[in-house]
């Protein structure tokens, strides 16, 4: 098994008729995902990669029994799309869209929580459970079934690390790209709790970066609640304060959010931190 999604998940793609939506619908189908419906307002009745398209989420849920959604719609419409999915009763919503205003996320996240819906993202590569399903944009060929859970704030850096893991023989249960924004639906701690509970996951990889205090909170949680071995990488050791390093969340403000503080927190919690991204498999070998 894996966390959050499985072979049985019935996935809906919001924004399926756009360039990204179409491309990744194909890739998700190839991964083995049950993509059962798409939604693009005004395009109901058409098909994308053989998947029926509807005008609204409720209709897609009613007609195709979708129970999870992945959102590719542009930033200005993403809040609307997410709330439509949450209010239609979906329990898992993955938001790929980047550059969504923070205040929109401040509205969406508490609503999701109150409805018992798990949101992944925004500004994230999504979820992949090898051998099960994928709701995301990660390249299919990187993954291999295994017993490591991966949690990451970034995209391509995750691909680099997952690739190195797969090459070294460490497969994955699920890879969760939690996203690079300040306001995200599923925190590092939330994801750690999921992997701690999941019976198939035997070890956990955390890929952090500068900005905020998610890694420090994760380290504290690991110390108190996680019995499985955890290894980590932290990006941004050479980043200067006050500059946003691409991700909206990756900025050192005052003395908060430095890589040094994060590495220290992990090490104090008994989590070895790799110097290089490709150093992760070596640390895993020792777990």
């Amino acid at each position: 098994m894996a966390v959050l999604l499985s072979k049985k998940s019935r996935v809906l793609v919001q924004g399926i008729t756009g360039h990204q939506g179409q491309f990744h619908t194909r890739a998700m189908l190839d991964f083995g995902t049950k993509v059962v419906a798409g939604v693009t307002p005004g395009k109901g009745g058409t098909k994308v990669e053989g998947v029926p398209v509807f005008d609204g989420v409720r209709e897609a849920v009613h007609r195709r029994r979708a129970n999870a959604s992945i959102i590719f719609v542009p930033a200005a419409y993403a809040k609307d799309a997410a709330i439509e999915a949450i209010e239609a009763g979906l329990k898992l919503v993955v938001i790929i869209t980047e550059r969504i205003p923070f205040h929109d996320c401040l509205e969406v996240m508490p609503l999701a929580r109150s409805r018992g819906c798990v949101v992944i993202g925004p500004n994230c590569p999504g979820l992949a459970s090898p051998g099960q399903a994928k709701m995301g944009i990660m390249p299919n060929q990187l993954f291999k079934e295994g017993d490591a859970g991966v949690i990451s704030r970034s995209g391509t850096l995750t691909y680099e690390i997952v690739n190195a893991m797969t090459e070294a023989g460490f497969g994955q249960t699920t890879c969760i790209g939690i996203g690079g924004d300040p306001i995200i639906g599923t925190s590092m701690v939330d994801a750690l709790a999921m992997f701690q509970k999941d019976r198939k996951t035997k070890r956990i990889v955390v890929v952090g970066e500068i900005g905020g205090t998610a890694e420090e909170e994760a380290a504290d949680f690991i110390e108190r609640r996680v019995t499985k071995p955890v290894v980590a990488y932290v990006a941004g050791r050479t980043a200067p304060p006050g500059k946003r390093m691409g991700h909206a969340g990756a900025i050192i403000q005052g003395n908060r959010g430095t890589a040094e503080s994060k590495v220290k927190a992990f090490e104090a919690a008994g989590v070895p931190v790799a110097e290089y991204p490709v150093g992760i498999p070596r640390l895993l070998a020792a777990t």
């Binding site: 401040l106 391509t156 500068i210």
Partner: protein, 369 residues
């Protein structure tokens, strides 16, 4: 988006947050009728200007012009002062702190206040700061204001004014898509009035499209960073000499770190994002070449991104710009072999891994390999 004090105060005034009278000037000759006596304040997007000599008092028009002349052009922590704000001098009775920011962990706005204003909030002991989360959609409720006023222990007339200011601040925070609204100090005058002594405002860049009126504000970007921003390229100038370009923010950061471990120093952070459009790659390289690094380190991990089209963009940019800057490239992805061949054909240095590429970049920089 960061705002200079005078600009933030203009916005404050629109939200009925009381601010002192003031005029902005870019040269002493611009100063005609300042409120007197006044404080002449350097307008820079950085803290600590008071200690750096960027805030001075003036009693008369002549003195205001003289002082403004001294402050204009000053360098404050790397920022040149281009404007001064001449503001009515306040008869300060007490200095408070009031702020609303986003608490990432709680995913909610955080209301902060303290009776110890006028100093950096980070320096205020934790038990002297009032902090409560605001449920985003419902906003400020009366109980929040009651508990805030209780902790600050202020007389009723002052408390009433602060209650209304708190409401206006949250209104501004929400409607303007702010990441931070901070008033430090929030001044209680000897006459019992409450007014914003300073104003710090940061608005979410992602919400820029909802606030087109702020599109042309001067930000703390270098000219080249501004040019990149206008072209939609994520680019930051750093103090090293090796131009780093990669795809994805995390990977770009990691590439800079790896370069550091290998003894090099990154001079740029350029995130190519998910594109493999040769035109866009070319545009990014043009910015990078303008930054004049001694060597360029390119790191592409393309699961979906096509390696050969990225290489094509690199080739076109280098040829068109007639540059002699060497490029060390690690490109992984679809059509990787063709990409390497293309780079080799124009005298570039392909590498298998990032570590190898970083080592090579350091060597090439110092005259090798």
């Amino acid at each position: 988006m960061k705002f200079l004090e005078y600009k933030a105060k203009e916005i404050f005034a629109r939200y009925r947050i009381p601010v002192p009278q003031g005029v902005v000037a870019a040269s002493p000759a611009d100063i005609l009728d300042p409120p007197l006596p006044c404080m002449v304040k350097a307008q820079v997007l950085v803290g600590g200007r008071g200690k750096a000599g960027g805030i001075k008092a003036a009693e008369s028009l002549d003195e205001a012009r003289t002082v403004a002349g001294q402050i204009l052009g000053m360098d404050i922590h790397g920022f040149r002062v281009k404007q001064v704000y001449l503001e009515e001098r306040l008869d300060i009775g007490q200095e408070l702190y009031l702020g609303v920011t986003i608490d990432r962990s709680a995913r909610e706005p955080l209301l902060m206040a303290s009776a110890m204003g006028g100093i950096d909030i980070e320096a205020v002991p934790h038990d002297r700061i009032y902090m409560e989360h605001i449920p985003t959609v419902v906003g400020i409720q009366p109980y929040l204001v009651r508990s805030l006023l209780k902790q600050l222990a202020l007389p009723k007339e002052v408390g009433d004014q602060i209650a209304s200011i708190v409401g206006h601040v949250y209104d501004l925070f929400r409607k303007e898509d702010a990441e931070l609204v901070e008033i430090n100090p929030l001044v209680v005058t000897k006459a019992g009035g409450v007014v914003a002594g300073d104003a710090k405002l940061v608005i979410d860049d992602n919400a820029e499209y909802r606030h087109p009126e702020y599109a042309n504000l001067d930000q703390d970007r270098t000219p080249l960073e501004q040019e990149a921003h206008d072209k939609g390229i994520t680019f930051i100038q750093l103090d090293g000499d090796i131009g780093v370009i990669a795809n994805g923010a995390g990977l770009t950061m990691a590439t800079l770190d790896i370069l550091g471990l290998k003894g090099g120093r990154g001079g740029t952070f350029l995130d190519l994002g998910g594109t493999d459009d040769p035109g866009k790659v070319k545009q990014a390289f043009e910015i990078l070449i303008e930054a004049a690094p001694s060597v360029i380190l390119l790191n592409i991990f393309g699961g979906i991104t096509k390696a050969d089209t990225v290489a094509l963009g690199v080739k076109q940019a280098l040829e068109e710009m007639h540059t002699k800057i060497p490029v060390v490239a690690r490109i992984k992805g679809v059509n990787e072999a063709q990409a390497k061949e293309m780079l080799r054909s124009i005298g570039m240095y392909p590498a298998e891994t990032v570590e190898e590429a970083a080592e090579l970049a350091v060597k090439v920089k110092s005259g090798g390999p």
